[in-house]
């Protein structure tokens, strides 16, 4: 898919003219941004560019001062995070935030909360509905764990998994929300080049097999350039460029604002 053809497909997520103000400080200044359906999009920018703030607006942690966020056709601006998550926005965290003292399978099953319905009486009474729901949840969790490749660790506490497996578990957990959009916050932080390369393939597989759109915040330019179909660059709260990897690589404003600052990384292959 080329960047041009993406413009015409329908959007999985649309952020329109988002502004976030903290007191006198404007962290995000009127950013408009779309994630086309089943695409892989990256959000980059130097530290302090407002990437994380923007991310938090999408997931409902911050209410934007102005602007709207739409998931598909649905306006989710200012909804609470759990509501937005249940409507189909899954995310992972920059510094892994698993439920450490729950098993891998339980971690995934937590994310299925909004897709299950048993109430207190049904749980205590262990009705047929509740038992079937539990069984289905467990099977689906196992399926998700198998999908990300850690199925044999289903009964391990999340805190005992290796770093790489924890990252995978976070993706499995987010996928259990059955999201339309998956937000990955610096997913390759702490990975070596080989692991990052494997990860790029993994992201493609997630998109293709789980039919989700993926938004990454990422610092590793080689990953960004290889994985993204479209890249949006933020600097000081403003969108300064948007386009395919080649456009971004050659965009003078981007080089000046971002790639230029980090020197050698600017010549990213």
């Amino acid at each position: 898919m080329t960047a041009a053809s993406l413009e015409t497909t329908k959007a999985a997520l649309t952020a329109d003219n988002i502004m976030v103000r903290f007191g006198g400080l404007v962290a995000v200044k009127g950013v408009t941004f779309t994630i086309p359906d089943q695409s892989i999009v990256s959000l980059i920018g130097p530290n302090g560019a407002g990437k994380t703030t923007f991310f938090n607006v999408l997931t409902g942690l911050y209410r934007p001062t102005t602007g709207t966020v739409k998931l598909g056709e649905l306006d989710i601006t200012g909804q609470s995070p759990h509501k937005i998550a249940s409507l189909g926005l899954g995310r992972t965290f920059q510094n892994i935030r698993l439920f450490g003292l729950m098993t891998a399978a339980e971690n995934v099953m937590v994310a299925m909360h909004s897709h299950t319905t048993s109430n207190i009486l049904q749980i205590v009474g262990r009705t047929r509905h509740q038992r079937r729901e539990e069984k289905d949840s467990r099977e689906f969790a196992q399926e998700m764990l198998d999908f990300v490749g850690i199925g044999r660790h289903a009964d391990e506490y999340a805190r005992n998994l290796s770093y790489g497996d924890q990252r995978r578990l976070e993706v499995a957990r987010a996928l259990a929300l059955r999201p339309q959009v998956l937000l990955l916050d610096e997913p390759t932080a702490g990975m070596n080049p080989q692991e990052s390369a494997v990860f790029v393939d993994f992201v493609h597989r997630v998109r293709d097999e789980q039919k989700v759109s993926v938004l990454l915040i990422e610092h590793d330019m080689s990953v960004v350039m290889r994985v993204s179909e479209r890249i949006t660059v933020l600097d000081q709260g403003e969108k300064i460029a948007e386009g395919g990897p080649d456009d971004i690589r050659n965009n003078p404003r981007v080089v000046e604002a971002y790639l230029g600052r980090t020197g050698t990384e600017g010549s990213a292959r």
Binding site: M102, M109, I120, E134, L177
Partner: protein
């Protein structure tokens, strides 16, 4: 730092192991409860006066019954504190509401109803007031408390950890005060103030059937209204209520709600990002905990045959919390052991030890007055040497005894 290598592939799923573990503990407790009943019903009356005196001094059934009240409430508090990780310093409020609900609907208190309203009650006929069968009162009081829990929780649960603790502390003070001063609310006597509500209706195991059944030389009360000395029958009924509370808290932890609570306890923000509604789940924890507080309140009122506002003081909340912490936060079985130990120690163990000590050495030390000092010392020692409690939850044992794998690997610069 040495780290025990985590076992990578378990031979059995953890859920199976946990189920076995639960079954083992449940059988133990049921066995002990039944053995206790048999012991006090059949064996104790036939013992010589020496052993009988010893048992009456060190293990009176009355104090065991009171300990069961503590068990019920501690199991309820464990849902709030242990499962969902919400620090509640005002649990006595629910205990009081449950007690007063019992006082209202199973006594002559509302004497405006002159001919009395009876429903399957063991109370003597033709008395004014409301007289409901006590098993139904349990459910009513539980529901009243769950509802109060939601009312109290809705504004307070928006607060985070320490602030939540402070506000619950406030409610734990306010509600007993309301009962203490509720004898004239707009001209209506709600609570009888400091005079309290006494006596309550006598309770019976069943509302119908023969009064008693003889087994050997023991009379087992069936529909006989129980008096203050029918402690064995009350023991059996209180054990059933406690078993119900334990059953509910074990079952509820297995499902989606239990997982949501654990997730909130582990990482609230991440839980909300995974679609767990924080307010709703926390309120559910509060309501279920309060329900059990209500059960405890009714059982306590029946045990004492009265309800007095000044009994519901702050120290009850603290002792309950100490029971949960001592037993092992989050593990129902540990909490039961903690509650039984502390309640027995407080009501019987310490005074008895004191009087034996005093008569042995001719001293005149008022041992029971040192109970809080001793509690404090126990808690400090626990924090120093066994932070996870006597019988910790498997999960918690992990966190307190082993380093987190990623932390340890960062230390030796291993693969990050």
């Amino acid at each position: 730092m040495s780290v025990r290598a985590p076992e990578v592939v378990s031979s059995k799923p953890k859920s199976d192991l946990a189920a076995n573990h639960t079954r083992k503990w449940a059988l133990w407790f049921a066995g002990i409860a039944i053995a206790g009943w048999l012991f006090y019903t059949f064996l104790v009356p036939n013992l010589g006066s020496g052993p009988q005196l010893f048992i009456r001094q060190w293990m009176p059934l009355g104090s065991i019954n009171e300990a069961l009240v503590w068990v019920i409430c501690a199991v309820g508090l464990n849902i709030v504190v242990g499962y969902a990780g919400l620090l509640d310093l005002g649990f006595v409020a629910f205990w009081a509401i449950g007690g007063y609900t019992a006082g209202w609907i199973m006594s002559t208190f509302f004497n405006q109803i002159e001919n009395g309203f009876y429903f399957l009650s063991a109370a003597p006929p033709n008395q004014p007031g409301i007289h409901i069968n006590w098993w139904i009162v349990l459910i009513v009081a539980g529901c009243v408390c769950a509802f109060s829990g939601i009312i109290i929780g809705a504004p307070t649960l928006r607060l985070k950890s320490d602030y939540l603790a402070l506000v619950t502390l406030g409610f734990g003070e306010i509600i007993p005060q309301v009962f203490l001063n509720g004898e004239n609310i707009a001209g209506f006597n709600f609570t009888n103030g400091a005079k309290g509500i006494a006596p309550l209706d006598p309770v019976a195991a069943l509302p119908f059937g023969p009064a008693t059944v003889a087994i050997g030389n023991a009379q087992i009360a069936i529909s006989k209204p129980l008096g203050p000395f029918d402690v064995t029958a009350k023991y059996a009924m209180f054990v059933l209520v406690a078993a119900f509370a334990v059953f509910v808290s074990l079952r509820i932890r297995e499902g989606r709600l239990g997982r949501a609570w654990l997730a909130i306890r582990e990482d609230e923000l991440a839980a909300s990002m995974m679609g767990v509604p924080l307010m709703q789940s926390k309120l559910a924890a509060y309501a279920v905990g309060a329900f059990m507080g209500g059960l405890g309140g009714v059982v306590y009122a029946v045990h004492n045959n009265s309800v007095f506002a000044d009994r519901f003081n702050f120290s009850i909340s603290i002792i309950l919390l100490a029971m949960v912490v001592l037993g092992g936060m989050g593990n129902v079985w540990g909490v039961i052991v903690g509650a039984l130990l502390l309640a027995w120690f407080n009501s019987t163990g310490l005074p008895q030890f004191g009087s034996s000590f005093n008569s042995q050495f001719g001293t005149d030390i008022n041992f029971p007055s040192f109970n809080y000092l001793i509690f404090g010392a126990i808690l400090v020692l626990m924090m120093l040497f066994r932070r996870e409690g006597l019988f910790p939850e498997t999960r918690t044992r992990q966190v307190l005894q082993e380093a987190e794998r990623s932390d340890a690997e960062e230390l030796d610069g291993g693969e990050a």
